[in-house]
């Protein structure tokens, strides 16, 4: 009897602890996989604009210096074995002759591949911001409608519709966005159908129901007594919302908005259909670019070695960043809310 009790409690404890282990496991695994790229590029990875770019690395000495050195050597070592200088340049093993042909100095070259996260990081932040700018006013409007304006018989159907909108899988948003929403965005704003703007807007439609639902929940925490007092003083509905509900539920509303941002940052499929997967900084909103989840989704299959490690570096950045954004919202603003 006592024994079963002990086992049951132990199993429950281990199950709860497993959550901690999974999170530590995710972090450790991403870190270990990202390590080669972290060691190679360091923090410069965050501002490097190239991705999978092969560059040639000249010999440690710049060409001019080599020439001088060579001349000096030639004069000083004139008696030495001619064979040593018969070749103009000391070709490194494994060097590619074709690579050198461009180089006027024919300096010894090695190739190296550069990976940098700047463009996907910028793409992730920009697409999430567009989504927030688009979704925030609508979500606030829906929340105000549901908590203050809607007549009783409408609260439920509208509420359920908003929650169903949140239940639709993200890949469906991608399909709809690509084939039906993108052409309309293109007609209005010009540019290409596949762009930062379309990706951001579809992302906005996607986080809209989530944002509206949790903002409404925050607003509903306002005690009726406060609202009724304000109405009794002759306040309009808008004034009650602005001067009673918003100040009272401010912390919760801000927390809900930040939490939605955290969700938007990690969204993959809806964005993958629409952002274009092009490693280019967007000069206009209607240019295609790429975001971190999309880089992961589209490159994981064929990546190896350094590229794989760089992908894990990006995954780690995304994980840590969204962890802090969500954690910030939860701890600072939504504390004690269950």
């Amino acid at each position: 009897m006592l024994n079963k009790e002990f086992i049951f409690k132990r199993v429950a404890f281990l199950s709860a602890t497993l959550i901690l282990f999974i999170l530590i496991g995710i972090f450790t695994m991403l870190f270990l996989q990202a390590k080669p790229a972290m060691q190679k590029y360091g923090a410069h990875f965050l501002v490097e604009k190239s991705w999978n770019k092969t560059i040639t690395i000249k010999d440690t000495n710049p060409p001019k210096v080599t020439k001088v050195v060579k001349k000096k050597k030639e004069t000083s070592a004139s008696d030495n074995d001619d064979a040593l200088f018969s070749d103009d340049t000391p070709v490194l093993p494994g060097d590619n002759e074709d690579m050198q042909s461009d180089d006027t100095n024919a300096a010894p070259v090695k190739t190296d591949t550069i990976f940098g996260g700047y463009i996907p990081i910028v793409g992730t932040i920009l697409s999430s911001l567009i989504a927030m700018v688009f979704a925030l006013p609508l979500a606030l409007g829906i929340a105000i409608f549901l908590s203050e304006i809607a007549p009783g018989f409408l609260i439920k159907p509208v509420g359920i519709s908003i929650e169903l909108l949140a239940a639709i899988p993200s890949i469906i948003y991608g399909m709809w966005g690509l084939f039906y929403f993108a052409p309309i965005v293109q007609n209005i704003f010009g540019g290409s159908q596949i762009s930062l703007l379309t990706a951001g807007l579809v992302l906005g439609v996607m986080i809209l129901p989530f944002m509206a639902a949790i903002t409404r929940d925050s607003m509903n925490t306002t005690p009726d007594v406060l609202k009724e007092s304000a109405y009794a003083l002759g306040a309009t509905k808008f004034e009650v919302v602005k001067d009673v509900i918003f100040p009272y539920a401010k912390v919760g509303i801000i927390g809900s908005i930040i939490l939605s941002l955290g969700r938007a940052l990690g969204e993959t499929m809806a964005v993958a259909f629409l952002i274009g997967s092009v490693f280019k900084l967007p000069l206009k909103l209607t240019d295609p670019t790429v975001s971190i989840p999309v880089v992961l989704a589209n490159n994981f299959g064929e990546a190896n070695d350094l590229m794989m490690s760089s992908l894990y570096y990006l995954a780690l950045i995304l994980f840590v960043f969204s962890f802090f954004v969500i954690g910030f919202a939860k701890f600072y603003f939504l504390k004690g809310r269950r």
Binding site: A12, L32, E267, M269, F273
Partner: protein
Amino acid sequence: MREKRLLLNKIILLLSTLSAIAGMLFLAWILITLFLKGIGSISLSVFTKDLVNGGLKNLIFGQFVMAGLATLIGVPLGVMAGIYLREYGRGRYVNLIRDLSDIMMSAPSIVIGAFVFAFMVVPMGGINGWAGAVALAIMLVPIVVSTTDNMLSLVPKELREAGIALGGGKYRVILDIILRAAKVGLMTGILLAFARIIGETAPLLFTSGTNSFWTTNLNDAFPSLTVSIYNLANFPTDKARDLAWAASFILTVIVLIINLLGRYIIRQRKRK
């Protein structure tokens, strides 16, 4: 002055109502699009043939198998963890786990895919169905933890006290009284969690991949409806796109039916 206040009020109320209408319109737009495109592309052969022959049978099967396995793995863990948080644990550790679980619920799903790739796919030598199920289970656990935690908190204290007074061990009280009292809420929560993971794509992309052929071998690339939608939509032929629409329609119908079923159960219980 008064006029201005009333006018401003009217404008804001109008804008709020318009936002709600806009939200409803988006839902209607997506559903109508899916319905029109889906109905046009669905025929009986979609359900009787595998992807390799232009159907979706193996994909629907595969998606259910992986989500089902994830539920089998994740629900016991999540429920037990929730029981610990609500019934046994005290103090800081419980709050830490609760907060971490909440954060994990919103963690980027693609990162969970990347984790499972390093954790299972590489050691096992290639994409496989187990890895897909585990990735989905990791998504599921925090949802189930949160549901269990909430539902158990609704069970009145008197029931616990009465149970203890009967002289059963604490685990007996939890299993026979508390879980039974919270059963309907728990089932609903699990149903909604299942609806959430069955539509996931990102965690499956490089864990289970997808497979054009019928297979029940979880050690191999496993058919996934969602991953195949992504592949088919990027395929340049009309036939592939039609199939992607049919698959999207079926997926949405499955997800929405499970969701509405869950809500219906909640409503039935409240009416009692």
